[in-house]
């Protein structure tokens, strides 16, 4: 009897081990401030960002495979159309098959919707970073917290926009880490943020036309705090073109955790 209960305990422990995913490697992003690219008059010039933990690299196909194994409703054939469009995980060979490429597991997962990214984050006891957190971490250069003064860093960012999407994405963690030890914030894939569409709706004081003006032709001049920060414009432009069920060939995500 005692033996049996020991076995039961052991089995339980194994079951727990299987159900509890390993928390991905993360790094601490210290307290700081983010200057939003777009803001209405009623909004603060700077948004304080509380220290948080951010995954050092985007979620990979291998990571995501574990998730869909444990959560079959997020498998390609099972997912509800409401939560992911028909492109969801289309680069995989099957529900649980990453395809023949030997390094497929190490590449960032893409073709995932915001809903899917959010569900994954919860599964690893985390969340998606919000835009302020992402932009604050993404502004850090290779050697300083303010990458705008780091010409090597700026050049590395701009290069990505001048090259076509590669047929096969490179593996994660190959790029030079920033000062916090975070890889791939630039130059690999776009990344979901928890409030990806907030640039459109926080300006409600000025009504709908104001929202549209911010986004389209006037976006280069209207209420933008840093008109010369083209990469930030491109990221905001990209995020605001999305809906939460969209999946895109070079859009992935990484997780964040409260400290």
């Amino acid at each position: 009897m005692r033996l049996l209960s020991t076995i039961a305990t052991l089995l339980g422990a194994i079951a727990t081990l299987q159900a509890e995913p390993a928390r991905p490697a993360s790094a601490r992003i210290p307290d700081g401030c983010y200057r939003p690219l777009f803001r209405s008059e009623s909004e603060a010039r700077q948004i304080p960002v509380k220290a948080f933990a951010l995954a050092v690299c985007p979620v990979t196909n291998a990571d995501y495979l574990e998730f869909v194994r444990a959560n079959p409703r997020w498998q390609r054939s099972q997912v509800k159309r409401l939560f992911a469009d028909e492109g969801y995980l289309q680069h995989w060979a099957g529900d649980l098959d990453l395809g023949p490429a030997p390094d497929a597991g190490q590449r960032p997962v893409v073709f995932v919707s915001w809903f899917a990214a959010k569900a994954y984050s919860v599964w690893v006891d985390g969340r998606l970073p919000n835009t302020a957190e992402w932009e604050y971490a993404g502004a850090a250069g290779f050697t300083t917290a303010d990458g705008s003064k780091d010409s090597e860093f700026i050049r590395a960012i701009n290069e990505w926009y001048s090259k076509p999407s590669p047929d096969r994405l490179p593996a994660v963690s190959r790029s030079k880490p920033n000062v916090y030890g975070i890889h791939d914030l630039h130059g690999l894939v776009w990344e979901w943020t928890s409030d990806f569409n907030s640039a459109m709706v926080t300006g409600d004081a000025r009504g709908d036309t104001g929202i549209e003006r911010q986004l389209f032709c006037g976006a280069g001049s209207f209420n933008a705090t840093d008109r010369a920060n083209f990469p930030a414009f491109l990221r905001f432009g990209f995020r605001s073109s999305l809906k939460a069920a969209y999946t895109v060939h070079n859009l992935g995500f990484r997780c964040a955790w409260d400290l």
Binding site: T209, F216, C217, F233, G237, S241, A244, H249
Partner: protein, 505 residues
């Protein structure tokens, strides 16, 4: 093939915010019900057709209909690497896979159903602002499209004219500088006067990290764009897009209409055709000819003009932005080749006159010293780098070809054939091959006065060509080993000897 997403931004965005804060199903229902858009009322009564699109320099055929129709336009955005100049590549963002974007031709009064597809491999979201649209944003708000998605909107072509369209996604200037512009012609109800040939020419700037001609895949240079310092100003998206085999063609006696646009994003074009006078100009893309007998017409960024002229004599007519460093140093140069009988009353051909050719600049001691030290450095670098030292003849030829296409071909022509009685041929040239040192001297010091090449007399002027010694060795090696010529490599030392002799004179 593509799912259509009617974008209702306010509704969609507020709905999504609700989802992100509250959770799932009920709010999603709301979003879906808000995304259907009512159709305009009288569409069922109209004839339907699909617009024929064309890539520059071609123009879709004139519209023969005398009634309005519902016209479907399908335009696909693709981000593609294309050649910007010889050896220079650039990631262009395109409407229709080419730069400039596809030419769209519709008729005044048409009801246009516009579908913008953003290719799944695109990195960026894009939209389109057609200046022919009457409505906020010119369609931009209704066509904002993520990679791998499609947007649709409809508009009525109320105003006839030649209109620019462009991407209006932030940063707008960058999207335009990367190639996202084109022309849409709304023909007036009565049509435009018929002409023999129509062509599509659009000017624009490219801001590359490297200087003009610097090889490799070039990145967009934000600093240069903000300072309005383009590395390239080109017609139809690349240097040489309308040159040589790509030149526009016509025959003597024909009337040509050019649809000229300017994508910008910054520079106003002083559009001119060397050797022609525009019989009619439809200024600013309006449908009434506003001027006759015009030499140069202004085309602003985001604007257009139509020009018409009858061809009286044969020859090659050069299209330029008459802000001339753009034409000869940044790429804004095209060609219209006209065949047919000559008319000596209209144009006699070359009359030779006496020429004064100045000496090369006096040497100055400081400059000489600096040059000598630089040359020593170059020599040292070459000696220590086996890769450079061992440059094969083929590589010299390849490099020489680029120099030739940037500097020499305008006179000697792309196949070295020259122009009869004006520019001597280099192809199978007895004069060139007879004396190597003389050919080097011609490039270094210039050449003027009577010469006989392959039995034909020439009496013209070739000014000294501003090239580095390396470039001279490249181009002469190329010329002396192309088009039926066969010779050895021209070395740096040989070029230097000619320099030394000219310094001693």
């Amino acid at each position: 093939m593509y799912p259509f997403h009617y974008r209702s931004f306010t509704a969609g965005a507020v709905g999504l915010l609700a989802i992100s804060t509250l959770g799932f199903a009920a709010e999603v229902e709301t979003v879906i019900s808000q995304t259907s858009v009512p159709k305009p009322p009288d569409m069922g009564l109209m004839a339907e057709e699909r617009a024929v699109l064309s890539q520059a320099p071609l123009v879709p055929p004139p519209i023969r209909r005398n009634y309005a129709a519902k016209v479907t336009v399908e335009l696909e955005v693709r981000e593609v690497v294309r050649q910007l100049s010889d050896g220079v590549e650039y990631l262009f963002w395109t409407f229709g896979g080419d730069v400039p974007g596809s030419f769209i031709r519709v008729r005044e009064g048409d009801q246009i159903e516009f579908r913008l597809h953003n290719h799944p491999t695109s990195k960026m979201p894009h939209n389109i602002d057609l200046h022919a649209v009457t409505g906020p944003g010119g369609g931009a708000a209704s066509s904002f499209t993520a990679p791998g998605h499609t947007s649709q909107f409809s508009f009525k072509a109320l105003n006839p004219g030649l209109y620019v369209y462009h991407c209006a996604t932030a940063p707008v200037g960058m999207h335009v500088a990367n190639g996202m512009y084109g022309l849409i012609l709304v023909e007036p109800k009565a049509g435009l006067p018929s002409v023999d040939r129509e062509y599509y020419v659009m000017q624009s700037e490219v801001y590359t990290a490297g200087r003009f001609g610097e090889e490799g895949l070039q990145a967009f240079d934000q600093e240069k764009a903000l300072d309005e310092r383009p590395s390239y100003i080109v017609f139809n998206g690349s240097v040489g897009s309308l040159v040589g085999d790509n030149a526009l063609k016509a025959k003597v006696g024909e009337t040509v209409r050019l649809y000229v646009g300017n994508g910008g994003p910054n520079a106003v074009s002083s559009f001119h055709v060397i050797g022609e006078i525009f019989d009619k100009v439809y200024q600013e893309g309006g449908v009434i000819p506003t001027q006759q007998h015009v030499q140069t017409t202004l085309v602003p960024p985001g604007g257009s003009a139509m020009v018409e002229f009858k061809l009286e004599v044969p020859g090659t007519f050069i299209l330029v932005d008459h802000a001339l460093f753009r034409a000869f140093n940044k790429g804004a140069l095209g060609m219209l080749k006209v065949e047919g009988p000559s008319n000596l009353l209209v144009y006699s051909g070359k009359e030779v006159d006496a020429v004064y050719l100045g000496r090369q600049a006096e040497s100055n001691a400081a400059g000489e010293r600096k040059l000598a030290s630089l040359e020593a450095q170059v020599k040292e670098a070459i000696k220590t780098d086996p890769k450079i030292a061992g440059l094969s003849k083929e590589l010299l030829m390849e490099k020489g070809k680029r120099v030739f296409m940037q500097t020499c071909f305008a006179c000697h022509q792309s196949e070295g054939q020259g122009l009869p009685a004006v520019f001597p041929p280099l192809a199978k040239s007895d004069y060139l091959m007879a004396d190597k040192e003389r050919s080097i001297r011609a490039v270094v010091k210039g050449l003027s006065g009577p010469v006989v090449v392959n039995g034909q007399p020439f009496n013209g002027v070739m000014p000294p060509v501003m090239l580095t010694d390396e470039q001279i060795t490249h181009v002469l090696t190329y010329v002396r080993n192309s088009w039926g010529n066969s010779g050895d490599v021209v070395t740096i030392d040989e070029v230097k000897r000619v320099h030394a002799e000219s310094a001693n004179q």
